[in-house]
């Protein structure tokens, strides 16, 4: 298996995540796109680990940490989205543009 096939796949996934981040209006969907990007990163890490074969499986460890942190981030993120929804009665990110000129 080529390394590049995984890398390109991950790149495509990452790009899609970027698109979703920039386009989606619902805050939850934005977080979803972020998860997609993180996932792409994970693929990259594991692919490199398999390519380099470090003695301590560094890439995999890194991927574990990424997953963990992603989970924590989702928790907090959704809590925030919840608070925002309570305050503004809307989960639309366009309604959040208060800090503007």
């Amino acid at each position: 298996m080529l390394l590049n096939q995984f890398l390109v796949l991950a790149a495509a996934l990452f790009a899609m995540g970027v698109y979703g981040l920039l386009v989606r209006r619902n805050m939850v969907l934005i977080l979803l796109s972020v998860e997609l990007m993180l996932n792409a990163v994970n693929i990259n890490l594991i692919a490199f680990e398999s390519y380099l074969v470090t003695p301590e499986a560094v890439g995999q460890i890194f991927a574990i940490f990424v997953i963990t942190v992603a989970a924590a981030e989702v928790g907090i993120g959704l809590a925030i989205v919840l608070m925002i929804f309570r305050n503004r009665k809307s989960a639309n990110v366009d309604d959040l543009s208060l800090m503007r000129w």
């Binding site: 390394l3 996934l13 693929i43 074969v53 997953i67 989970a71 919840l82």
Partner: protein
Amino acid sequence: MTFPDWISEPVNWVFLVIGLTVLVSGFRVVTSKNVVHSALFLVATLAGTAGLFLMLSAEFVAWVLVLVYIGAVVVLFLFGIMITRAPMGFDDSLDGDHKVAPAILSVSVFVMMAWASIDAFGTSLVASTGTATSTELIGESLLGRFVIPFEVVSFVLLAALIGGITIARRDLTPAEEEERAAV
């Protein structure tokens, strides 16, 4: 390696199938008009990703992914969708008005990264060991070389836990506060 060589290996067929699933699901995640559909497509993407991990001899990580991501994070997302009263059916207003610029941006990101990796690695091959990375090895690493990040991450989780609860807590009404104080 040329394409015929590559396609002749059975591993790559599996890869193709899983890869396509992942890509399509990922695309549907960001373009679906239904919120719940987006979440479910993410599940598919994650599942595909786990399959890819298995192919890359990362057993532990693959199952961790399934457990944590699909098992907890996506569920959390669905809860979030429910609580924020996201529209359940098809909704056109899910996407923003401007799609061209983000599309160009994301395409350029993809091109950039793809080109960089192809340019750097060419036709290098992944090491195919045949055996999966043992959990023992991962355990030793985690508690050996990476013990400090491990502990720190546990703190991160604790902070996220407490933080999440604190942020999402409902403010008590004055009556309830008095009740609490009296107790």
